[in-house]
């Protein structure tokens, strides 16, 4: 579909025997914030590098703006702003001088662009401080300024809030949100911090060991992850029919012969039980299951702790 800004097909990157990214199919929709969520070493950075043509995929294709990236780098890349891993700048120059170099290379003649983008990340324009003397957070801010300086359609940001203080994080979050809502930019953002993605993203892809485990909108994910009612009944298939006919409810999953999960908590559990009993089902358990997004994430990535 053409309204996908980024679409990958079986994207795979193999380093030696290790598949860092394995048959990844992600779909980033226009004007949305897509959060790529994964633990350390999951393959987020590798994926983004392939999206920018910084490393060649072992197998698979990247489609950006509906065109294949391979062979079209020259026309595609100028419309992307990116921040991959740690910020990289020349230590012997000031922040503004660093940005001026990239502005010149990008053919930005408007001098105020450098100033504007520095202001955006609250870094001073007239500052004698060299990049080598910047703090980690300042470096990160400069990298964000570089990513947005040329007003790109698509932003690819790899852990952009790394090293920022809480106020900085909130600022960057608000600013990314604004870029998306007011300016219609599409943003792909990666993080290993679930709460960060949950606060910002519209769509989420969960990646683990190079494999995309889930891809859905945040609301879908929340529905799926957080709360459901688990019924243990004498006949789950029959219970499902009752839900469909009497309640017109289809958001359920039959786990096995006796177990059914209902993902809609707006329905009254009492009314459902009453209906089940009226239809002659035996109910041994009805349990409202509340799972935090975090636990869900742990469960799908099969992991223990995550930051």
């Amino acid at each position: 579909m053409s309204d996908y800004i980024i679409k990958t097909k079986n994207l795979t990157k193999q380093y030696g025997a290790l598949k860092s990214v394995n048959s990844l199919n992600i779909h980033v929709r226009k004007g949305r914030i897509y959060g790529l969520l994964g633990r350390n070493g999951a393959g987020k950075t590798t994926t983004m590098k392939m999206l920018l043509g910084l490393t060649k995929p072992t197998v698979g294709d990247v489609m950006i703006f509906g065109k294949s990236l391979a062979g079209n780098e020259k026309s595609i890349l100028p419309h992307i702003g990116s921040l991959i891993e740690s910020p990289g700048f020349y230590p012997n120059l000031t922040g503004a001088e660093n940005l001026q170099i990239f502005a010149a290379l990008r053919g930005i003649s408007d001098k105020s662009k450098v100033k504007d983008s520095l202001e955006l990340v609250s870094l001073p324009y007239r500052d004698k401080k060299l990049y080598s003397q910047y703090s980690l957070g300042m470096k990160q801010r400069l990298a964000i300024a570089l990513a947005v300086m040329h007003d790109p359609e698509l932003l690819i940001l790899d852990e952009p809030i790394n090293g920022l203080d809480p106020i900085g994080i909130a600022e960057v979050r608000a600013f990314i949100r604004k870029l998306c809502d007011d300016r219609g930019k599409t943003i792909l953002i990666s993080s290993h911090i679930l709460s960060e993605i949950a606060l910002l993203a519209d769509d989420i892809g969960i990646i683990d060991k190079g494999v995309l485990l889930e891809e859905e909108s945040l609301s879908e994910l929340e529905a799926k992850s957080s709360r459901h009612v688990r019924f243990t009944v004498s006949d789950a298939a029959c219970a499902a029919k009752i839900l469909e006919h009497r309640f017109h409810e289809y958001r359920y999953a039959v786990q096995d012969a006796h177990c059914l999960q209902l993902h809609n908590l707006d329905l009254s559990v009492g009314r459902i039980i009453k209906a089940f009993v009226t239809e002659g089902l035996e109910i041994s358990e009805a349990f409202v299951h509340e799972e935090s997004l975090e636990n869900y994430f742990k469960r799908v990535t099969g992991g223990e702790g995550i930051a």
């Binding site: 020259k74 890349l77 100028p78 891993e85 020349y90 990239f102 060299l130």
Partner: protein
């Protein structure tokens, strides 16, 4: 491409290595001027062209070029450049061009210092124009002569220390070769000495020495050496051909390197 070259010059700003390197061009002529009593312009210039060039400029330009190439990796700026997009081929060509400008400027600075010293001590200025041309040509040829070694440095892709060692080893080897008969007293043709950069430059440069104040020893050396002189078009063809080949391989290697 012009933009890239301009940016490469901006990146040099506040780089001590470049500034200090540039200052070394003054050491040799001044030193020579102080120890030699009756120096003439020809001698002074040949110090700039030969000793300064063969011994100082070659390792310097290799080290500077290496630092230009490694800087993008060290500071993780290559990814930002590639995303612009800038190709590695153009980036390396821009860097090599900066080194070429540096080499010529370096030789020219030495030239003007010598000229100043000559003026101050009332040494007659003869053939200044020719010396100027020779100095510029030397800068370009020495740049070309450092390419094979730079290729090695980039291929190794190691730390600065290793690069410095390689650069000095290459310089020493070249210097020894340029005073050894086996490398310079061989006629031009399809043989190894014809391909050795520094000895070939020497065989080209030596023919321009003036024999005016020369003693019998020098005159005899000049005469016995004259069959092995290399004409100007030939020296340029050999060195630029070699440099071109090295640069092509260099770019291939650079393009393969991971981020």
């Amino acid at each position: 491409m012009l933009k890239l070259i301009r940016c490469e010059f901006w990146k040099i700003k506040r780089k001590k290595l470049f500034h200090i390197a540039f200052l070394t061009t003054f050491i040799m002529p001044v030193f020579y001027f102080m120890i030699i009593k009756d120096a003439n312009l020809d001698n002074l210039m040949s110090v700039v062209q030969e000793e300064n060039g063969f011994l100082v400029l070659i390792p310097l330009s290799i080290i500077l070029a290496a630092s230009l190439f490694f800087e993008e990796q060290d500071h993780d700026t290559l990814k930002n450049l590639l995303c612009v997009p800038v190709t590695r081929r153009r980036l390396s060509l821009a860097k090599l061009f900066v080194v070429l400008v540096f080499d010529i400027a370096y030789e020219l600075a030495g030239f003007f210092v010598s000229l100043l010293l000559a003026l101050l001590s009332r040494i007659p200025l003869t053939g200044t124009g020719r010396e100027l041309l020779l100095t510029i040509a030397c800068g370009a040829l020495l740049w070309a002569a450092s390419m094979p070694c730079l290729l090695l440095v980039i291929w190794c892709n190691r730390s600065y220390i290793i690069s410095v060692i390689i650069a000095f080893a290459y310089t020493m080897l070249s210097y020894i070769l340029h005073i050894s008969d086996a490398a310079i007293r061989v006629p031009l043709g399809l043989n190894i000495p014809t391909l050795l950069p520094v000895p070939v430059i020497f065989r080209w440069l030596y023919q321009f020495h003036s024999l005016e104040d020369a003693g019998p020893v020098i005159t005899k050396f000049y005469e016995s050496f004259s069959p092995y002189f290399v004409p100007t078009p030939t020296v340029f063809a050999i060195l630029m051909g070699e440099a071109l080949l090295c640069i092509m391989i260099m770019i291939k290697i650079y393009e393969r390197q991971k981020i």
